[in-house]
């Protein structure tokens, strides 16, 4: 798959491209983790974290692949570093090799500061509690990139109502996040 298709697919969250990238890069990561004291469950968890990190960096304009193997290399590097960090944290001495510091630093460049990361995690938590209609509306607009016209047709609303409801849902989500953050209550 060419570099532009990979990049646009990641940026636009094109499901077919995301699945292709996910499926084609998993075996190498699994091989590394199984060869370094891990299990298939470890490989699954670490790989998904790495995949999300790469996707997030593309969303935040912090990573743009420069060649056709860049996405594969970046996923592998992040997964490798995450697994080695995990091994170190449990003081497991069976690690076959350690990454060089430069590549480690590059792959682990913070995407967001702690406050931003905390806010993002709260958004994800509270989004799950938002209620089906709002979740569906926001999912259609922000993830599936449907237009307001398409969303209005789906819900049998006018376009103006769809836009208004989208704002209300966003505002509700924002209030839930702020309440949780400031008071620890939903």
């Amino acid at each position: 798959m060419d570099i532009e298709r990979q990049f646009i697919g990641l940026k636009e969250s094109d499901e077919k491209v995301l699945q292709y990238i996910y499926v084609s890069n998993y075996p190498k990561v699994e091989q590394f983790i199984l060869g370094n004291s891990g299990t298939t469950d470890d490989a699954h968890d670490i790989y998904q974290e790495a995949f999300l990190a790469v996707w997030r960096n593309v969303q935040l304009d912090k990573f743009r692949p420069q060649n056709e193997t860049a996405v594969a290399g970046y996923i592998y590097q992040i997964a490798r570093n995450k697994w080695l960090d995990q091994l170190r944290s449990v003081k497991n001495k069976k690690t076959a090799d350690l990454p060089d510091e430069i590549s480690h630093q590059l792959a682990d460049t913070p995407q967001l500061d702690d406050a931003e990361m905390g806010y993002l995690e709260l958004v994800k938590e509270e989004y799950e509690r938002l209620g089906d209609p709002c979740r569906e509306l926001l999912n259609r607009f922000y993830f599936k990139k449907e237009s307001m016209r398409e969303i209005a047709a789906h819900f049998s609303w006018t376009e103006a109502s769809a836009k208004n409801n989208k704002y209300r849902c966003l505002q509700r989500l924002r209030n839930m996040v702020i309440n949780k953050k400031e008071n620890g209550i939903p």
Binding site: K16, Q19, F51, L120, Y142, V177, I178
Partner: protein, 246 residues
């Protein structure tokens, strides 16, 4: 990040358009100026960005398990070489047909009786587990990963390169046939499938019979199609033959 401010609908809209890079040149200049001059505006932009990112990320996380299922059976520790249970393949294909059948009939309203039957019974072979092992197998598996992700053109590109070094590989020809069939390349698909279908001793002969039969049925060549479909012993073959005889 202290959210001691409100974000109005118009502000949400403007920030979204900025983040989506759809502001006009003039709007963009004014927006950037505001970002430089108003710290609160910068906070708002950052917050809306995180809200949007969180929504998208949650949606993606929900998709990841689905992606992982596409790898089912591919774990390196589970298998050392591709082995396929055809009963499982037929079962999956039958389930997919049951789920998608209604949709296909709806979509194919303007097509001939035989085209509708083809659409109702055709499901791509789900493919083989991959292992990423030695050189030739690695290339075959790479093609299989593309095939299973629905990238049939890339799969055929990879497998065609392999057909020079693996000239008599029936698995390779069968899946090249499957990829060409999915790409609706009728002649190429039949060229790969018919030699397998015509030799009952070959692996994938029955599967090749089923798909060759479906292709011929689509063209209204019912007699030839019936012979292939009967030989396929596919779980759906009896039902299809009954429909053909009605």
């Amino acid at each position: 990040m202290k959210q001691e401010y409100d974000i109005s609908p118009d502000e949400f809209d403007l920030i979204e358009r900025y983040l989506g890079k759809t502001l006009t040149g003039e709007e963009s200049v004014a927006f950037e100026k505001r970002l430089q001059e108003e710290p609160v505006w910068k906070e708002k932009v950052n917050e809306v960005n995180l809200l949007m990112l969180g929504i998208r990320e949650t949606a993606l996380v929900e998709k990841l398990e689905g992606f992982h299922h596409a790898l089912a059976g591919e774990s390196l520790i589970k298998k050392t070489k591709p082995v396929i249970s055809m009963a499982r393949v037929w079962l999956v294909a039958a389930s997919c047909i049951a789920l998608l059948g209604l949709g296909y009939w709806w979509l194919m309203g303007n097509e001939s009786k035989y085209e509708k039957m083809y659409a109702a019974y055709y499901q791509p072979d789900p493919g083989l587990p991959t292992t990423m092992s030695v050189a030739n197998n690695y290339q075959f598996d790479k093609g299989m990963v593309a095939y299973k992700a629905g990238d049939y053109r890339e799969a055929t590109d990879i497998w065609l390169g392999l057909s020079q070094s693996m000239p008599a590989n029936d698995s390779l020809f069968y899946f090249l046939g499957m990829a060409e069939l999915a790409l609706q390349h009728r002649d190429k698909a039949l060229n790969y499938l018919k030699p397998l279908a015509d030799d009952p001793q070959k692996p994938y002969s029955k599967e090749a019979c089923w798909y060759s039969g479906l292709l011929l049925l689509k063209e209204g060549k019912t007699e030839e199609a019936t012979a292939f479909i009967r030989r396929s012993q596919h779980p759906e073959s009896k039902k299809l033959l009954l429909e053909l005889n009605q």
